[in-house]
Symmetry: C2
Subunit: 244 residues, 2 copies
Amino acid sequence: MNQRPASVSVVHVEHPSTCENCKVRQLCLPVALNGDELEELDLLVRKRAPLKNHEYVYRIGDKFHSLYAIRSGAVKTYGLTSDGKEQITGFHLPGEIVGMDAIGSDVHACNAVALEVTDVCELPYNQLEEIGQRFPMLQHELACMMSREIRAESSMLIMIGKMNAEQRIACFLHNLHHRMRQRGGEPNMIDLPMSREDIGNYLGLTLETVSRRLGFLQSEGVIKLEKRRVTFRDVERLSAICAS
Amino acid sequence: MNQRPASVSVVHVEHPSTCENCKVRQLCLPVALNGDELEELDLLVRKRAPLKNHEYVYRIGDKFHSLYAIRSGAVKTYGLTSDGKEQITGFHLPGEIVGMDAIGSDVHACNAVALEVTDVCELPYNQLEEIGQRFPMLQHELACMMSREIRAESSMLIMIGKMNAEQRIACFLHNLHHRMRQRGGEPNMIDLPMSREDIGNYLGLTLETVSRRLGFLQSEGVIKLEKRRVTFRDVERLSAICAS
DNA sequence: CGCATTGTTGACAATCGTCAAGTTCGGTGG
DNA sequence: CCACCGAACTTGACGATTGTCAACAATGCG
């Protein structure tokens, strides 16, 4: 008799891939919508073949046309400095929406690329505004998601502006841990979808510093590292480091 | 015969303080609205006595109720780190809207405080959503302003993450110069509304570093400093430093 | 006029970046 | 299946930018 494989849906019934059946609907636009609204939203969602690792959701210069809700996988968004270096502005998990920074622009000003196999729902923006007119709740939810994005970036500014390398790494892990748990991940373990270089880039550090500080956190017994798998051994201490 | 005082409105007719007559309507919500829409917007705007220096627009913990459009003056928004230090997340000029990070929250998560005498228009948010339902263009403009805020914060992340002290200061000045000009300021001069400490806080630097790098830019002939007055002597060079 | 706030300047220290060497891992092809 | 190659990561030594501490000057407000 076989063990059930860990962390895989126990029963995998083939639901039609509607918002109503989506695993992350509690975190995404549909959170507060009723049946009619959901139905309308489903009508405008364009499905796409899942993106493979390194495939772009959109690129700098692409005409802005749609927002993209992440259904599964992970996406990083990054801009370019004037001398052509990448600066990652966010890592995005299922239930989050990317592309909101381009509303009211003609073209996208940042790249969005999949960090693993990733399923996205395309939401044509003019249609979204149109049904938003008829469904106030949808309009409201969209505003909430944009507002949340603003808050998230403000938090990053606070973090980058005031914290040292160790605190940044601790906060980063803590934040990711929290978000992964919201999404039903293992309670004390995460598999990072990004490289050390990406982490460093995001946090305003070099990959060497990331590697060193992660190693230090491990030596202190706060986490355990196995390649990109991070096991949390002392979440209390991790929080304490964030707040120190 | 007296000279006309510089940088003061030449003729100061007492317009009623409607959106239509607002000096920054081209930069604010009303930019694309027609007569009916403007009238409706004016009905919901609550005027307040101008804020004096150091007076709060809203504070952390205040119940979220309204957005605030800045009519004149300047506002800084800042959050608090877990150990109680301030981190400034933005400086806001006339035509900009503060409070959008609290939409969908119960309470404000950051402070907004006037840096000089400042006139704000209070926009009760539920009324704003309500008339947004009837006027798609207003709804669209609001989304654009939120989107712009997301882009602005992304730019800051790119800047803080990748630039050294001198580049940050140069970009900061350049950005402020640009925004002041949009608002009809002197072409090559700005009076900073914030202290060196505020600038450093915002840019993730200490006030000493700000003072030193500003002094260096002056010694290089890029700017001239007189207390908080900055005169631009070589905007080309300033741009070059930002991009270096 | 005096005191508090703000800004400037200097000396020194520390964190983090740079450069470099070496290791592990994963994928590809013989 | 094994060998090889490149990507990703780790670790060490060194240096530079920036922060810290301190003294002092200038400003503005009561």
